[in-house]
């Protein structure tokens, strides 16, 4: 038996967009065990809830993550609205769904680009990000912010979209679909991508369930688990079908995300067809009292915002359970037994968002 050595991976590593540290126990080039450690970007955002008005905290909850910001804000609002027993206008729920899907597409395109970069395929990285720019343009012209939208409010949303804007979005969708088809073709068929991802980082169906994986990680292993199936917000009226692959390797997880780009476009078209007319924001008076557990689907998987209030303007507790934290145990399982050169690819397939995870 060869001697074991420990190679530190991260927190500063070219493939890692955010800092996570892994101690890789190696035997020759093979990883025997991976020991993760976190705590490099903790900001104490949950504690801040005790010092900010619950309505102003929406802007902070959006800044928990720099990529899936919109959905964090929407989930926090959803939790507070449930505590206060508010029924928000249906139009606001549809608008939230549309922006959530745009946010998901921009996150997935960002990830597909980073993933291509981790494989050493820089050209594909640039192309993914070029397409992502079109999504950011839509977000900017409809909300005012490219990445941090800032339109969520307790009681609805602060911006509306008119019929002309909906028509413009509808005319742009065929172009986006063509772009996605081309990108998906490359991720599906290209030899470079296949060599680096097929059969790498296997996660069996049973292990994915047992380790509590969420999002594209569990859907790439054959389970149809998606919080949007619970029908929160406007999703109960939209025709949603989760994208599921059964292979359980890095390639499957990549194609789940590529497939979700198309699902998001379908959902947006669906929502535009069915959006009702009416108000977008209701006046909110008083302070919340009680607790609630809101669950939504982020690009990386299921996110849970727990809020507890005691009738004062500051909440007592705000707890976020982010998808990356749930995906770390499956990651450690996938890393055991892989080659050192495959580690960056496997780490990226869980789409690690450390800023979210540590808050």
């Amino acid at each position: 038996m060869s001697k074991q050595i420990i190679v530190p991976f991260g927190p500063q590593h070219p493939v890692l967009p955010e800092p996570i540290h892994l101690d890789l126990v190696l035997e020759d080039e093979r990883v025997v065990e991976a020991i993760p450690s976190i705590g490099y970007v903790h900001r104490g955002l949950e504690k801040l809830v005790e010092k900010r008005d619950y309505k102003d905290y929406v802007f902070i909850s959006e800044r928990i993550c720099g990529i899936c910001s919109f959905i964090h804000g929407a989930t926090y609002c959803q939790a507070v609205e449930q505590v206060m027993g508010l029924e928000i206008p249906r139009r606001a729920e549809f608008l939230r769904a549309i922006w959530s899907e745009y946010s998901r597409m921009h996150s997935h395109l960002l990830w597909l680009g980073c993933f291509a970069d981790a494989m050493g395929y820089e050209n594909l990285f640039m192309n993914c990000w070029k397409v992502r720019e079109k999504i950011l343009d839509v977000l900017e012209r409809t909300t005012g912010g490219r990445v941090i939208q800032g339109v969520n409010r307790v009681g609805g949303v602060s911006r509306d979209m008119d019929a002309a804007e909906f028509r413009r979005i509808e005319t742009e969708i065929p172009g986006l679909r063509a772009d996605y088809t081309e990108l998906t073709r490359i991720f599906d068929e290209d030899l470079t991508v296949q060599t680096r991802t097929k059969g790498v980082g296997m996660l069996s169906k049973d292990m994915a369930w047992e380790l509590g994986a969420v999002g594209p990680v569990i859907r790439g292993s054959g389970h149809a688990v998606d919080a949007r199936m619970t029908g929160y917000g406007a999703y109960d009226e939209l025709d949603f079908k989760p994208v599921v692959r059964t292979e359980g390797d890095c390639h499957a997880r990549c194609l789940v995300r590529a497939g979700e780009l198309f699902t998001s476009l379908d959902l947006i078209e669906n929502a535009i067809d069915r959006i009702p007319k009416g108000d977008i924001l209701i006046p909110v008076k008083g302070n919340p009292s009680g607790e609630y557990y809101a669950q939504t689907e982020q690009p990386r998987g299921e996110v849970i915002h727990y809020v507890k209030a005691n009738g004062k303007k500051n909440l007592v507790r705000h707890r976020v359970r982010t998808p990356t934290l749930a995906n770390v145990p499956p990651l450690v399982h996938m890393l055991a037994g892989c080659e050192l050169a495959d580690v960056p690819v496997i780490v990226l397939t869980i789409d690690p968002c450390i800023g979210c995870m540590e808050r």
Partner: protein, 124 residues
């Protein structure tokens, strides 16, 4: 592939040379926060509701101070201002090597309309 190469040669780069060329903005873009100090009553609501603690208001000195590097341009203060003197402009601020604080001093006499506006940029 040949088609893509030809297309890219004709089209030119997909990026712009920011900051030498101005960034794309839309009519609703949140670029930076400005204050119309003549209408300000120094009530301090913007300071109290700022999620980033970026605003300082002093009623005795009649100053309104913004820590521009702390400001996240969320627009929260704009929605709370009772006199509607805060607004968000579309253009982004130019890059700066050091944190900037903008101090705006209001007119001396609140009864008079003809006040003076003074903007001082201090580099820390």
């Amino acid at each position: 592939m040949a088609l893509t190469v030809l297309k890219n040669l004709v089209k030119g780069p997909a990026t712009i040379r920011y900051p030498y060329q101005p960034a794309k903005v839309t009519p609703v873009t949140r670029g930076h926060l400005v204050v119309n100090i003549n209408n300000c009553i120094f009530c301090g609501l913007c300071r109290a509701h700022c999620p980033a603690d970026a605003i300082e208001v002093s009623k005795p000195d009649r100053t309104w101070k913004l820590h521009q590097f702390q400001c996240v341009i969320c627009g929260c203060c704009v929605s709370y201002c009772p006199k509607d003197c805060l607004s968000i402009e579309q253009t982004y601020l130019p890059p700066s090597p050091a944190a900037t604080i903008v101090t705006v001093t209001g007119p001396d006499e609140p009864e008079k309309n003809e006040g003076q506006e003074e903007g001082i940029n201090k580099k820390l």
